[in-house]
């Protein structure tokens, strides 16, 4: 789609500048103007790099125990200290980044893959299909998020993979609701009516004309849902329903740390701080993205 069909007046350079700007360029410009969102994105990218480079940057094997270094406070040798069986806390925090980011990525992808198509069908078809699907979504939303994830993880069995499935399933109704709402908002727009009038089949109208126009709110929700998923994975691992020991995960590290709070407080400090920083950064980025994608804000 071209936006340069009209020539703006010569004496209005600012208008000319805005006129030539594509929507994604405008979003990037507005996003770059929001300092907190940029900091948030920077921290998320930092954690992503840590997760990818874990084998290279981890000072120790996260599973290697040492009876000579049990519950040692932070030192030059172990900057974050050691845990109850002498494992390096820094190495475990670094490797734990993988579990958290993976949980955020996989569970939100699952929720998107299931939620968006259901939402599209529900919003586009309307009638009985919409009514039935919405009552099913209401039923899922009636069970508090973490309780549903705990119940699913309990019946599926405790593991990181099952925790991710449980979180993904629990987040699906949010995406169904959001997608359906967006479809209802645009399905009677002129460009959709025009696509229908020229004889496009339904699947083409939905996929080519409706879906691309409802992506911005989905993008914002994806960022915020990733933050929720990371806290949920940490919560399930804290309860013993996520990543299983001895594999490192921030939530399970906190579960162990809880028992040594008076003897080794550093065991609780670092994994909690990592969850907090990552979630805060995703929230900052998500908030900034929402503002940047909002056409009412300039």
């Amino acid at each position: 789609m071209t936006t340069e069909t009209l020539d703006p007046p010569r004496d209005a350079p600012l208008i000319r500048e805005d006129f030539g700007e594509r929507p994604w360029q405008r979003t990037l410009r507005l996003l770059a103007e929001r300092r907190l969102a940029v900091i948030g994105l920077g921290i998320v990218l930092f954690f992503l790099a840590v997760a990818i480079l874990a084998p290279l940057i981890s000072p120790y094997d996260p599973l290697a125990t040492s009876w000579a270094a049990v519950r040692k406070p932070p030192s030059l040798l172990h900057p974050f200290g050691t845990d109850e069986i002498g494992r390096d806390v820094l190495a475990r925090v670094i490797w734990g980044t993988r579990a958290s980011l993976l949980a955020g990525l996989v569970s939100v992808s699952l929720a998107l893959a299931a939620g968006v198509p259901i939402g599209l069908v529900s919003g586009y078809c309307g009638g009985v299909v919409d009514g039935t699907l919405m009552r099913m979504v209401d039923a899922m939303l009636a069970i508090p998020f973490l309780i549903l994830a705990i119940a699913l993880a309990a019946f599926l069995g405790p593991s990181l993979a099952n925790a991710m499935i449980a979180i993904g399933v629990s987040q699906t109704p949010i995406f169904v609701r959001l997608t359906r709402g967006q479809v209802l908002a645009v399905k009677h727009e002129e460009y959709v009516e025009a696509a229908r009038a020229v004889g496009n089949p339904h699947h083409r109208i939905v996929l080519r004309h409706i879906l691309p126009n409802i992506i911005p709110p989905l993008l914002v929700q994806t960022t915020l849902a990733a933050a929720t998923a990371i806290i949920a994975e940490a919560s399930l691992s804290f309860l013993g329903l996520g990543q299983q020991p001895p594999d490192p995960s921030w939530g399970s590290m906190l579960n162990t740390a809880k028992n040594f709070i008076s003897q080794a407080p550093w065991m609780a400090l670092w994994p909690g701080l990592a969850i907090f920083l990552l979630v805060l950064s995703l929230n900052l980025f998500g908030d900034g993205l929402r503002d940047a994608l909002d056409p009412r804000r300039g």
Partner: protein
């Protein structure tokens, strides 16, 4: 109003049906034969046969659902495998503990969230506004189990002011009861206070620029009177409704908080049940939570419609 109420109640029927199907369906997720899983490793074949018969596992799925839902309708949620007690009794025993914790958490959330939201809106775009917004973001991003551990470290281990864990019923000692609950209630209320602050702030900002507030100001009313009598009363309506939606977060948070502070409530019941493969208890707790959540939202909708006639249409 009657038509609104009828329509709202009619919508509940399919929702309740799907909730029950979902919770009943959880059992189908168990890998393999549920009787084998429930009986545990190396179980006697007679035990397995007994379980299969007791839980009607030899019956077709719709029949099993019918029998299960019939029991639920009569208040029979099954029996705990581990404690050999009816699930209903277990839930009724733990419910007051979680209700007290949740009630205190809501009080703390309102006490922090609403004034902070008002202040942020009144001092819009000031250092106070930015500060309150950042504190709210901190509250939303902090995992409550981590905050719980940090508070135990500060107030129990370092200062020795508050007990680190446990629960004393209010009938035994109200003072001890409050001392054991104040930290968990703060942890649980913290995140909800942050959400409430955001809601109050945005509702207040919207209301503060409304014509009737401008009129109140033009009449010469003082700032406090305008904020409390005119703006806040209207701004609080959506805050109350959104507050009801936060009850889900409250119930989820209670599971973790009770685990950190070893409080024998609803949350601890479900976690212990999960690890003991006490599936009837898991199903019972999830069902009760869902019913409580649906009922709370129904009351909030009705309250909202009573206050705001536009919603009854």
């Amino acid at each position: 109003m009657a038509a609104f109420l009828l329509r709202r109640l009619a919508l509940l029927v399919p929702t309740l049906f799907f909730v029950s199907v979902l919770i009943f369906g959880l059992q189908q997720l168990l890998p393999g034969d549920p009787a084998l899983v429930m009986a545990g490793d190396n179980a006697d074949p007679t035990v397995i046969a007994f379980l299969r018969q007791k839980y009607h596992l030899d019956q077709p799925l719709p029949v099993r659902y019918g029998l299960w839902i019939e029991g639920v309708a009569h208040g029979d949620f099954g029996e705990s495998m581990r404690l050999k007690e009816p699930v209903r009794d277990l839930i009724l025993e733990k419910l007051p503990v979680t209700a007290e914790l949740a009630g205190l958490a809501i009080l703390i959330a309102i006490a922090i969230g609403v004034p902070a939201g008002i202040l942020a809106a009144v001092k819009h775009d000031s250092a106070i506004d930015y500060g309150a917004t950042m504190v709210a973001l901190w509250g939303i991003s902090t995992p409550n189990f981590w905050l719980g551990i940090l508070l135990i470290l500060l107030f129990s281990v370092t200062l020795g002011w508050l007990p680190a864990s446990g629960f004393v019923p209010p009938t035994e000692s109200l003072k001890q009861n409050l001392l054991t609950l104040i930290m968990p209630a703060f942890v649980l209320g913290n995140a909800i206070a942050a959400v409430m602050m955001r809601h109050t702030r945005s509702a207040m900002l919207q209301v503060m620029s409304a014509d009737y507030v401008r009129t109140a100001r033009a009449k010469g009313l003082g700032q406090v009177s305008v904020i409390i009598r005119h703006a806040l009363r209207n701004a609080l309506i959506p805050v109350v409704t959104l507050g009801a939606l936060e009850c889900g977060a409250l119930l989820s948070g209670a599971v973790l908080t009770e685990q950190v502070f070893t409080i024998p409530g609803f949350g601890k019941l479900i976690v212990d049940a999960v690890f003991n493969r006490d599936y009837a208890v898991v199903q019972g707790v999830v069902l009760c939570t869902a019913f409580a959540y649906i009922a709370l939202n129904l009351f909030a909708d009705i309250a909202y419609a009573l206050i705001d006639p536009r919603l009854r249409a």
